[in-house]
Symmetry: C2
Subunit: 235 residues, 2 copies
DNA sequence: CGAGGGTCAAGAGCACTGCTCTCGAAAACG
DNA sequence: CGTTTTCGAGAGCAGTGCTCTTGACCCTCG
């Protein structure tokens, strides 16, 4: 009885996955608001109403795709970092940032889904925050390791944190990197927003006509940001 | 005959404007893909097909709204900068960046329209590039004035441009700020992407749970970036 | 073994969308 | 005044997300 029950559940899980896969395929060509449940069902040889047994609404399907995308991006960043000598802090930093950019370029609509304008009326459920922070955590991990190795030298000038900001950064530090001093973590936040700002600008066409292709600009900015947070130069 | 001809054209221009206004009003509550031509027409007391005489497609209406948004944002940035003593370079820098952030927060869906994920299948026409660059030009103007006053001291370390990047930056410089050396303009580009990355993260909910509200973080980052590009400290 | 309950795909249908086409009225022009 | 252009109204097409009902299947328990 257990076996048969799992057989059913396995079929269900399988179909859920096939739906997501087909949806992702359509996403890749038509973009987020071109995603049509009917088209997905049609491609899978079923009728649209049947699909609602697996994802109760279009938003639920999108949420599943969003989580998948965050996870794929996070995994790409983490494995890229793991492929570098762990003592080569700048190398790890570069690996993560270029992995993010390359994943984004290879999956532009999935990237737009998670880092573009949120679908109005749609609120990200709790399930998304953990996978969403993987990239940030990977970057912070590099900085933390470098800090513990005594290798962090933030670029001048120093800029003390205001009192309220210091408090915010402290609670953030307590959660992810208690060793790091506030000003360093604040610099990491700035570098983090810079990274995604740059990738978004490139993907969303804001850089066209200026620095396009932007490989060189990206590499330059990444190193500038590594200096900024205080990572040591080369290995 | 000329007067009557313009009478018709004036009515046409007026209606075009009313359509855009109503569309913008709907945009503010439902977001970009909630914008419905039929709803706009309904609200204006006309039938949907009549609207197509003014904007031949939904994309054309969106394009008009995009241009309006770029212009409004650019005007906000420019007038904020003009309200500051022109010799107070850092003050102008702060004025522009906070004006951008405040406009974005006050018009989040219009901001999302221009700096969020582009509508798939939609290509920005030529008409958008000029208004789109107003903010960037305002920032560069500050930097250029500061440079000509001999007041620019980029934060160390120096980081030479690679050859291809230098070429790209040179052609960009030739178009907007011939006096500025390449490395300085490259830093400006980085600060520019950082600014919009930060605003987008705040508006799109990526900062929630970390630094939210982000007024303090924003101000901190803006000053860091002013240091980074080399603007002098206070007046 | 055979009945009852749960699971599922299918189909019809609702309200909505962007967009096209045709038609009649009104305005502009010669 | 007649003609041509401009414009709004209406019907209609193909598509969307989503709901509800119907009938088939399978699993479990009496």
């Amino acid at each position: 009885m257990n076996a048969s029950r799992t057989a059913r559940e396995r079929a269900r899980a399988e179909l859920s996955r096939e739906i997501r896969d087909e949806a992702r395929r359509q996403l890749a060509v038509t973009g987020a608001d071109g995603l049509s449940l009917r088209a997905v069902a049609r491609e899978l040889g079923m009728v649209s109403s049947a699909l609602y047994r697996y994802y109760p609404s279009r938003d639920d399907l999108l949420t599943a795709l969003i989580i998948d995308a965050y996870d794929a991006l996070g995994a790409a960043a983490e494995s890229a970092a793991a492929a570098v000598d762990s003592a080569d802090f700048r190398g790890r930093w570069r690996a993560i940032t270029t992995a993010v950019r390359e994943w984004a370029r290879a999956h532009r609509y999935e990237y737009a889904l998670i880092y573009g304008s949120p679908v109005p009326g749609y609120r990200a459920p709790e399930d998304t925050v953990a996978p969403a922070s993987r990239v940030a955590l990977a970057l912070v991990a590099v900085l933390r390791d470098a800090w513990q190795a005594g290798a962090v030298r933030p670029a001048p000038p120093e800029r003390p944190l205001s009192e309220p900001l210091s408090a915010q950064v402290q609670t953030l530090a307590a959660a992810i990197a208690p060793e790091l001093p506030g000003p360093v973590l604040a610099r990491a936040l700035i570098a983090w927003t810079q990274l995604f700002g740059m990738v978004s600008f490139e993907l969303f066409g804001q850089l066209v006509g200026d620095v396009d292709p932007s490989d060189e600009f990206f590499a330059h900015a990444v190193d500038h940001m590594a200096d900024f947070v205080g990572l040591p130069a080369e290995t």
